[in-house]
Point group: C2
Chain length 407, copies 2
């Protein structure tokens, strides 16, 4: 597997476009199109929030059906959530407009929305934007990057990745883009993430690969503990790489899963490190667990703890807050067997052995915690299972963004 | 029932004292004693955190035993949590020192600690402080108030309450003090809260009254979602009111429960409104639920949402974040039946009917949300059950306190 430049237009046959449609923001890209020359098999995972945005319901119906799909349209600024019947009608019109412009069926169009909950969508602006996108769509790096930029809200940078790998000498590409910065606490799903691949692969193999991997990637990040109404991951495969069809459970499927994992992991970590107001990416690794579930719950409890997050913001080796967060994770473990170290580019330092403090240099601890990427390594001395979760620090920036931004 | 001035020294036979023992803070009260002339029946609830502070384990053993108790010693500054065998030994020595000074048995002494996790307790300072407390203990309002001040950490004010009620013409008093500001997300228990009463009451009636009421009071508040290692509520009854013994399930017991509820509710709300950095008390009432459990989970999910809390800080009527938080609460409900209003001294305003926005004045909404006490009233249109939860806004102050304070 090899990382290459690019995102959703990296795989064969995929095009993209972006436009400033003025949906909520002024003078910035806010509407994106992903288009595939050939119909795609699709897999998707969606928010578990009871309140599901209209586009989530629209996409779910299409992904659960047998339909293939050829285009995705995504807007930033308005979430089209809590908008009732009108919101669903808006999805129908949006899909119809894209279908007309690209000569497709309405049910071949997927929709993504992110932004303020409860506001109505300005349909005329949206329709005008779609007309422009349909003419503007293009192959290549720049088009993909513009699309990645158009789906941002409080994000400070685009989030893209592309990788290639080979099956029987045939090069297959997987590329993706994502957005997410606040209201980030994916549960069985994620914020908006769009992955394209030219792999020829069965629907079951595609869906299983996505479902499994989401548990280890998007579902292991949190910015603020708030699970969004719009979380969506869509994976589109158009089969243009020319490989023999990948089937579920084969060696080739495992290669595909590995490459997909790299794409998902990169996008998930980029969302965590671009958390609203964040100055540091916090990685928490739990080792020595007796089950995967136990390891995951402990790691996630630590990255979600406001007190741990503020300690990281203050570069303070406040390990007591980390153990405290493990203690209320809802799973059993033995505090007296717990070891804890911190590490970053500045080195590694053990703080806790057998549940109590060792003698360590506060100065060195502060130095390690002042880096933009910090890892907390926890060993609970029970078994062989591990899990990793990613979050960020909690700073004044988060308050600034959210005491004002109507999201 | 009637509110009176005072706290833990309001009930007959209770004395208190406070001293600046220099345990961690300089030149401020940090060690408190509660003493009863006569042995007390005791009830207690404790943190569900797997990591339990040494004093929590000490108290649990005493409360679960048949022992009566006559004194409680509480320090602020050091939590005596994650301190291993040494921490338990420290409890033994502390209790023994109090017992010697007051001519009691070691097992008649309860202990409370709050502050930094992982630091060792300076035993010599603690012992000197206890000697002073034993001589200084006194009846009356001032002694109780000083004790309430001595147990504070990041709290900005003492939290006290006392009420009286009558059974067969006999006046019974219940008084209490509490501390709590950060690491507040009680689960089946609370932060430090100490309640004294002169009621004559059976052990079962006492414990049942406390257990039931904790679910509706301390367990319904959250400041930051972090369940502490030290959460403790202790209820001491010395029987000096001279009433006929109150038995579980009787009419008299219900009177006692009502008065206890007033004490617990007041202390719990005062903790929420004094949340670290808070400028507003946020009350969330869920009505029309089909079960108590559903109502509680929805209300707690809203008060715990960082995005809702920052919106309140910004006086922003961002109801989408509230519905979003209900959506990930982990219980089913019908968004399309949900009504939502906000209210404060400035009036009441409906924002959502049937899950979608109504037309309302943003100006009036901002005015309502600019008050120091704000209520969100939610009706989910299913049944008759209700629940109320209390929290606070999330401000720059929380970041300031926790990026530095080693707790």
């Amino acid at each position: 597997m090899k990382k290459i430049q690019g995102g959703i237009t990296a795989a064969k046959g995929f095009e993209a476009a972006a436009v400033a449609a003025g949906i909520k923001y002024e003078n910035r890209l806010d509407l994106a199109l992903i288009y595939s020359e050939k119909p795609c098999k699709i897999a998707g995972t969606f928010t578990t929030n009871i309140i599901k945005a209209a586009p989530v319901k629209w996409d779910q119906a299409i992904v659960e059906g047998k339909k293939k799909c050829q285009a995705v349209v995504v807007n930033a600024g308005i979430a089209n959530a809590c908008t009732g019947e009108e919101g669903m009608q808006c999805c129908v019109e949006t899909a119809q407009t894209v279908a007309n412009a690209l000569n497709l069926e309405r049910e071949e169009i997927l929709i993504g929305s992110t932004g303020v909950i409860g506001m109505p969508m300005p349909m005329e602006k949206l329709k005008k934007g779609i007309e422009i996108l349909a003419k503007k769509k293009a192959k290549g790096y720049e088009a993909g990057k513009e699309a990645a930029r158009a789906i941002m809200t409080t994000d400070t940078c685009e989030k893209e990745i592309a990788v290639t790998f080979e099956i029987d000498g045939q090069v297959i590409t997987i590329g993706g883009m994502a957005k997410g910065s606040g209201m980030i606490h994916p549960n069985m799903c994620t914020m908006l993430s769009f992955i394209t691949t030219d792999a020829c692969i069965s629907k079951k193999a595609l869906q299983q690969a996505l479902h499994m991997d989401v548990e280890e990637t998007y579902n292991m990040i949190s910015v603020d503990g708030d699970t969004s109404t719009n979380d969506t991951v869509l994976l589109l495969a158009n089969g243009m790489a020319g490989n023999k069809k990948i089937k579920y459970g084969t060696k080739e499927w495992e290669l595909f899963c590995d490459a997909l994992h790299e794409v998902n992991l990169t996008l998930a970590k980029r969302i965590a490190e671009d958390g609203e107001g964040a100055t540091a990416l916090l990685e928490v690794i739990v080792e020595g667990a007796s089950s995967k579930e136990q390891a995951r719950k402990l790691a996630k409890s630590v990255i979600c703890s406001n007190l741990t997050k503020t300690a990281i913001a203050g570069h303070d080796a406040n390990w007591g807050r980390i153990l405290c967060a493990m203690g209320y994770a809802g799973v059993e473990f033995f505090p007296e067997r717990t070891h804890l170290s911190i590490k970053s580019k500045e080195g590694e330092l053990c703080l806790v052995e057998g549940g109590v403090a060792v003698s360590y240099s506060e100065e060195k601890a502060t130095k390690i915690l002042s880096e933009p990427e910090v890892t907390v390594l926890i060993h609970i001395g029970e078994g062989e299972e591990t899990a990793t979760a990613w979050g960020c620090d909690l700073t004044h920036g988060y308050i600034d963004i959210n005491a004002d931004y109507r999201s």
